[in-house]
């Protein structure tokens, strides 16, 4: 047993469809029935499953173990450093919060005795005890602030951490001096409380980023994909995408995405390029034609000789453009840092003024310094440090419930500023998958037969039927002897008659997709497919206009394919655009002073998503698109985009209110501190009071996405 345990390998799978307790039970108890899987553990928050399996278990076999249970699983590659880096970050912050919280409570316990009248030796003892607790706490919990402040100062800049660090250090030093000289006022409680509240803010910020990252990782498919590679002796084995080499021959089944660039070495099929170019009509390919990674093989199995894999594929070009485009966005300064630019110098000037004023008034340097420290502590941006993260995490939680993942707080800030929306067509305004358009013409028997045959196949058109027919209330008819012929279709016996579902006998005139149902060889019904608009696209466009965001279409597709969509939605459209053209269109708008919200899904939208002031991608987008976008919305409805904009704007309003509250509090507290009325007791009350108000105000965002 121990020998077997030592041989197990640990694998992680992202399973986006984990929704309830039933799914947890089904996965954990169902997966272990596979003899290769020793243990399975579901992480519901991050929508992943951690399994221990025997080393001979290949990725496709494990994925099929998931699909047996009815779940779609995507292997998460061996990038634990990248994936878990953020998680350990917020764990370190949580540790610091715990330590600061413990210290705060104990020092407060001692301080209450001092405030209620302890004097003489008792007060000194309590102050010394407080110092003994506070000094290690400041050193441990304050590290992240000191480090960030030092980095900023060294580069001649200032941020929120500079006044915090200075305030904390001076207050600690002075309190230590007070303690040593038997003074009445020590600010250890104030210092530790400040750290505690600020760490809470930091931790919230980091939790929000982790949560979104978990969701995004669960959606990413590209990592760990691969292909069946056929060797010289016709044996096939599974090769991970990273290990594919030029010259290998991949066997690509219908309905499978290509993992590398190549030329067709056998078979003929049609390829869906929509993720790569935005082109909606599938392209027929035959022997010798080039095909690209990321495109979908929809008709028949083909053999592809790899000519470029990994970083050399056509996608790499787009990735380079994306890198350049993203640099513009990194210049965005977050609202808290913008506030700090004015706040930090103001705080330092005030403290200096207080010190100088009392010195001139003849108060002596000790008294003057005490008052200057009181000013520093009272103005320390305690509420300010909580104002932004508290509002943003509540907003992100609200949006997550309506199906929008927000990657970080700055995304919400930028989203709120958008006044132009540029929307890709294929896969964004439309569903990006075939939907049957003429099912109304079919009678009940034909529909039931269609479903019975379609559900036996993984062909994309069959899957479209399997998805849509049951939703329309169709139940399949019983059929027998069902079998699928690759490249042709499915056939079966129904009441002694031969029924087939497959390629139409006469090819249709246009390039539209179609499949034909035949009974005893006689065509009974030709089902046509088109890429349909998202169900609420028109409402969404209207809502965008209402929100003062001007929408337009930016598509890589041909003008003829875009025109009907543009007409149906009443939008202006730019068509046939390459990734560079899209970048240029965004740059033109930006130069005119507009903030562009880019909504797109394809690989070709990647650079535009990275360049837009803000960007949203649907959950069905290419991995490049999802990586580049600030937010991701799930499901078929487009309306979450507008909800995201509304919530982002509400969040900005709340953040501004919070700033106003914090400033209002300072307007009252600073004069008191100036006049020397702020004792440690007053500081403690003022600090916790203002923080509670700010957090309470942020909680109002909970219902903002109705």
């Amino acid at each position: 047993m121990t020998e077997a345990a030592a041989l197990l390998v640990e694998r992680n799978f992202a399973v986006p469809d984990i929704r309830c307790a039933g799914c947890i039970a089904k996965l954990e108890q169902g997966l272990v029935r596979d003899r290769r899987i020793a243990a399975a553990r579901v992480n519901f928050t991050e929508k992943r499953v951690h399994i221990s399996c025997t080393p001979d278990a290949e990725t496709p076999e494990l994925i099929s173990a998931f699909s047996l249970l009815g779940f779609e699983a995507h292997p998460i590659g061996d990038g634990p450093a990248e994936v878990d880096g953020g998680a350990s970050d917020s764990r370190a912050l949580l540790r610091a919060v715990a330590v600061a919280g413990f210290a705060m409570m104990n020092i407060m316990l001692l301080s209450v005795s001092v405030w209620s009248g302890a004097s003489g030796a008792t007060r000194d003892l309590f102050h010394w005890l407080s110092a003994a607790i506070a000094l290690p706490t400041v050193a441990y919990a304050g590290r992240s602030f000191f480090r960030s402040a030092w980095r900023a100062v060294r580069h001649g800049r200032t941020n929120m951490d500079v006044p915090i660090s200075i305030g904390v250090l001076i207050a600690t030093a002075l309190s230590l001096y007070e303690t040593a000289t038997h003074g009445p006022h020590a600010y250890f409680d104030g210092v530790v409380m400040l750290l505690f509240f600020l760490l809470c803010g930091r931790w919230l910020d980091s939790v929000m980023r982790d949560r979104a990252r978990g969701g995004v990782t669960a959606l990413l498919r590209n990592m760990g994909t691969g292909a069946m590679v056929v060797g010289a002796d016709e044996t096939s084995r599974w090769v991970d995408a990273t290990a594919l080499q030029p010259g290998m021959v991949m066997l690509v089944a219908a309905g499978e995405r290509l993992s590398a660039d190549g030329v067709i070495a056998g078979g003929a099929s049609r390829i869906d390029l929509s993720l790569l170019t935005g082109e909606s009509a599938p392209q027929a390919v035959g022997l010798g034609d080039p095909v690209h990674a990321g495109t979908l093989n929809i008709e028949a199995p083909i053999r592809v000789r790899v000519i470029a894999a990994g970083a050399d594929t056509a996608i790499a070009d787009i990735a380079r453009l994306m890198g350049e485009a993203a640099q513009g966005k990194s210049r965005y300064v977050r609202i808290a840092d913008r506030a700090a630019r004015y706040y930090a110098p103001a705080v330092h000037t005030l403290a200096l003024l207080a010190f100088a004023g009392w010195m001139i008034a003849g108060a002596g340097w000790h008294h003057s310094l005490l008052i200057a420290v009181a000013v520093l502590i009272i103005t320390c941006p305690c509420a300010l440090g909580l104002a932004v993260p508290a509002a943003q995490i509540v907003a992100a939680g609200t949006l997550m419930r309506v199906g929008v993942l927000v990657k970080d707080g700055s995304a919400l800030e930028r989203l709120a500023e958008a006044d132009r929306a540029m929307i890709d067509k294929t896969g964004t305004l439309t569903l990006g998958r075939p939907v049957a358009t003429n099912l109304d013409e079919a009678d009940a028997t034909v529909r039931a037969l269609l479903l019975a045959l379609a559900r036996a196949s993984r062909h994309p058109l069959s899957e479209a039927l399997t998805r849509d027919l049951p939703a329309a209330g169709v139940t399949p008819l019983p059929v027998e002897a069902i079998r699928e012929t690759p490249g042709f279709g499915v056939e079966a016996e129904w009441e002694g008659r031969r029924v087939t579902l497959g390629r139409p006998a006469q090819p249709t005139a246009d390039s539209a997709l179609a499949t034909q149902l035949a009974i005893d060889g006689a065509p009974a019904m030709t089902v046509r497919f088109a890429d349909a608009l998202r169900p609420d696209a028109a409402d969404t466009i209207a809502a965008l206009r209402q929100a003062d965001v001007v929408p337009s279409i930016l598509s890589g597709d041909r003008a003829a394919a875009v025109a009907p969509v543009a007409r149906a939605l009443g939008l202006t459209a730019q068509t046939g655009m390459s990734p560079q053209d899209k970048l240029a269109a965004i740059a033109r708008q930006a130069a005119a002073g507009h903030k562009v919200l880019m909504i797109g899904d394809g690989l070709n939208d990647g650079p535009a998503l990275a360049a837009g002031h803000a960007s949203i991608a649907p959950g069905s987008a290419s991995d490049a698109g999802k990586n580049a976008a600030d937010c991701i919305f799930l499901g078929d409805r487009l309306m979450p985009v507008v909800q995201a904009i509304r919530v982002a704007r509400r969040t900005q309003a709340i953040v501004r209110q919070n700033f106003a509250l914090a400033i209002g509090y300072n307007v009252i507290a600073v004069p008191l501190a100036f006049m020397g009325y702020v004792t440690p007791l007053v500081a403690a009350i003022a600090m916790s009071g203002s923080s509670l108000i700010v957090v309470g105000n942020a909680l109002r965002l909970k219902g903002a996405a109705r």
């Binding site: 307790a21 954990e28 579901v42 992480n43 928050t45 715990a98 413990f102 409570m105």
Partner: protein, 51 residues
């Protein structure tokens, strides 16, 4: 005053025990999947026995 000499270490000690317990559970991964933990109570045990 003598009572304090006993009570203060006791208070600090209890607090430290709480802190240590929290840090221990954090390291043990008990806070990794808070939403899942809330749902696990609905997961039946009977099948686990069968295995």
């Amino acid at each position: 005053m003598n009572g304090l000499l006993v009570l203060i270490p006791v208070a600090l000690g209890l607090g430290l025990i709480g802190l240590a317990a929290f840090l221990w559970s954090l390291r043990g991964g008990q806070f990794d999947d808070l939403d899942g933990a809330a749902l696990r109570i609905f997961v039946g045990d009977e099948e686990e026995d069968a295995r």
